[in-house]
Symmetry: none
Subunit: 526 residues, 2 copies
């Protein structure tokens, strides 16, 4: 469990999910929670149970499916409605029943919002806070309070804003996070308000948005002014311009301010974690993200190359290894060849410099067409083997032809059927598979056709399928990239296909997936 004296509180699954275009399933949320826990954050806000069936299900499944090492789950929700007892409010009940050890209540602290959004009196709002906090505390949960619109509220009516803090603290809220909900604050002004809030003797947290490009700096300014609880989101996800990027905040505090927030080895895994989360959210990673972006330590060589060789630390603000990133020098053919040789050695091939040169050319050519080998190591290894064999494609089977039919019948049923015609071990094979989609049908047809000759294929399974359209401006003319992940009893591998036709791209990746599976099973290809 993380130290309670300073909180790293993640709200990716709740406030981060407010980002335009971000849409997380329950499975996505569970996967992100595991990544955040592996980073060592103290709290993970899972969503708003009761208000949203997906979030209710998240908390239900979390009890059995999440085995958190560092983090505690927090359920987000509102104070009771006006004129109702906290114990009788069904939304408060959902928080109580979420099973989360912590409840974070959002409350109004801006007088105008109380009147306009809640349509109640300032006094009743305080009563709503007092009652809901006391009720949940009495029921055994720890309570944090998000003071919404606190900074604008403080400008409008400082006495009332501070009264909200005192009310919540006296009712038993252990932290009150001041929220710059509209994100308009700049650090100096924000620090003054935090200072005033810290003076109420409530324990103060901070929740910032990036509408002025200052979310991280605002968070740091609040910590300097006495906040001991920082909220933020993975990769800076969030509504509008996003929330404070929790990764940047943690790295700044730990590496530049001496805070001991997450285990050192977890911090050294931060770049991987940041990217793993983008895989789940399917949001293109920001290559320029501080600390964890692929460009964060990339230098266009030139002017300073010799000095960088003497002392790289003169040209980087931290050692990138501390956050699991790397210094990269850009624009260098030699770097390409060296890394191909290195990768070859990793796979057990000692490549001649001529083979490396040819392989680099082929990789460059294919990548310019949309292939990517970073995420498809099995395709890279097949390409390497073919290059070593002088460019000859060595496969366990030859493809004569294939055909896929997808049909929606008069009755409204959708069916997919694929037929493949292959040659293997001197035989001609014709096989047909049915599936719930065209790729599934093709996959079934290939296995059915080859399983008699290669029984090991029974253990090979297609476990993930990713599609990306690479040029979105030409409609269906765009090039489609398909990445397939397959597994057998001992491991996983990924293959890639690219074509303007999505089915052909899928076929390429499938064909390689089966070939690589057969190589893994010990079958030498001809």
């Amino acid at each position: 469990m993380a130290d309670d004296r300073f909180h790293v509180y993640d709200t990716t699954l709740r406030d981060g999910a407010q980002q335009e275009g971000l849409n997380l399933t329950v499975v996505d949320k569970l996967a992100i929670a595991r990544q955040l826990d592996s980073l060592g954050v103290g709290f993970i806000e899972g969503g708003w149970p009761g208000a949203n069936p997906k979030d209710t299900e998240f908390f239900r499944r979390a009890r059995t499916e999440l085995d958190l090492k560092h983090a505690q789950l927090a359920a987000f929700g509102a104070t009771r409605r006006a004129g109702v007892k906290a114990a009788d409010d069904p939304l408060v009940a959902a928080l109580r029943e979420s099973g989360a050890p912590v409840v974070t209540l959002v409350a109004k602290s801006h007088d105008r919002h109380v009147e306009l959004a809640l349509r109640t009196t300032l006094q009743e709002n305080l009563a709503m806070i007092r009652d809901t906090v006391s009720h949940l505390r009495a029921e055994g949960q720890r309570v944090f309070l998000d003071a919404e619109h606190f900074f604008d509220g403080y400008k409008s009516n400082p006495a009332y804003a501070l009264e909200v803090l005192r009310t919540a603290a006296e009712a038993g809220a252990s932290v009150i996070a001041l929220c710059d909900t509209n994100g308009g604050m700049l650090p100096d002004e924000l620090a003054e308000v935090v200072h005033a809030a810290v003076g109420t003797s409530a324990r103060i947290g901070i929740h910032c948005h990036d509408d002025t490009g200052c979310a991280v700096a605002n968070t740091l300014a609040a910590v300097k002014a006495g906040a001991t609880h920082v909220q933020g989101c993975a990769n800076g996800y969030g509504e509008r311009s996003g929330n404070a990027n929790l990764f940047t905040v943690v790295a700044n505090l730990q590496l530049k301010r001496g805070f001991d927030l997450v285990p050192r080895e977890a911090l050294a895994d931060m770049t991987r974690i940041a990217h793993a989360i983008t895989e789940v959210t399917n949001v293109t990673p920001n290559s320029h993200a501080p600390y964890v972006g692929v460009s964060a330590f990339a230098h266009k060589a030139g002017l300073h190359a010799s000095a960088i060789k003497v002392d790289p630390n003169l040209y980087q603000h931290i050692d990138p290894a501390m956050v699991g990133n790397d210094m990269r020098m850009l624009v260098s053919d030699m770097a390409g060849r060296a890394s191909v040789e290195l990768k070859g050695r990793e796979l057990g091939y000692d490549l001649s410099s001529e083979t490396s040169r040819v392989l680099v050319e082929r990789v460059k050519d294919l990548e310019s067409k949309g292939y990517t080998f970073e995420a498809a190591d099995a395709s890279f290894e097949l390409l390497l083997r073919d290059t070593v064999a002088g460019g000859r494609k060595r496969r366990h089977f030859e493809v004569e032809s294939w055909r896929v039919i997808v049909e929606r019948t008069r009755g409204g049923e959708v069916v997919s059927e694929a037929t493949v015609k292959l040659h293997a071990k001197g035989e001609r094979i014709v096989a047909t598979g049915e599936g719930n989609g065209p790729v599934n049908a093709l996959d079934k047809a290939v296995r059915l056709g080859l399983e008699k000759l290669y029984p090991e294929l029974a253990a090979v399974e297609l476990i993930d399928f990713k599609v990306r359209i690479l040029e979105g401006t030409h409609g269906t003319d765009a090039v489609t990239r398909v990445l397939i992940t397959s597994s057998d009893e001992t491991g996983e591998w990924a293959t890639v296909g690219v074509d303007e036709n999505i089915i052909e791209a899928s076929w390429q990746a499938l064909e390689q997936a089966v070939t690589y599976g057969l190589l893994r099973a010990g079958h030498v290809a001809d």
Copy 2:
């Protein structure tokens, strides 16, 4: 001409161009300079003439092709080499001959960099600065100095770093910009150093990088400490994590700190300018960019929607019109009734509260199945129309069945063919289309079938196609979401389909795309 008392200095064309993947032609640079001038920046750093033939050409062409209203051009370059007279150094000559009214000299202010990168003495470095500044001043140019690695240099040897400032100022440099070259500073520490530099009585500028996510806040902190010249790049372009985003800096200073930096009507054009520059650089615009991103004023939370109706300013930190942006309401599973009503009004429908309730239920239900309406306005409007009609699907045509065949022939050719059977205007239609992929073939078949009855379909085009697999852990069993963008002569619209079968998902989106296109053309559906 802009006021000289406070400088807005753009370095997009020089330091911004160091961004990984950014590659600007001379024509690109001229186009960007025109956009920056229209925003009203005071200085545009065009590049390093002499060091780079492209930049030499930029300054040559700028004399005749750039008609700047506000900005002055600055040529960037280094101090003379060690042991050479400034007048004899060919790189100094190139600066002199650039025709730029301002020269910005980069100089070392970090003792270790003088020794390791310049390989000269600390004294000679000062002489290089003194000679080069004096020489260019005598030749009639205004000189600014970029004190490279100033903050790290100040930590290493404060007396020497300050001596560099004094030397440059005494030799006639009118501004000395302190550069956080490695980008590692945080605002509080940076402000202290700027304060010390301002004490030397040199006029101080600031140049920040975003490696700690604090470039904007650092720039503001420097201004508060006395800097009167801010450097930055359009859209935050730059090496590693980028330079300070000049747009964010200008908007913050002008709208929140009362500086009068650019004309008010130019600021109101900032969103357009930011996007026009991304068209030139071909870098995907950051939708989350403060002030100018398409999401910067987009709201998703159902919680807030009812109060937003009453007073939008309670929910935005500035009026988006001041930077040429707009508030937008998103429809999502967070949506409450109020945001659906608001969206309905945006689309021209006055929804009854019962219709809104039913619509919210349907949106929530569909979003839980993987649909997303945020990015599919047309699908949302069709859903809304159907709900208004009491749940009856109103369409221009009925689908009897469809079939798609994708085949790779013996000869290796891949062909796609689709047949649709439809009913419209009392006719039964059977049409077949061929395409370079299954969706393209379906699209062609539908149009071919309907074009005789609806000739307007000839103008409808499918311009983008996006695929997302929503649960990547079940292989091809996963649910697929397809987003299609279509256009006609007057606009664009987006539709969404979801199914475990990618072809069926595409069909749903296609069918809606055509329906919506017909509605736009004025055809009422039955």
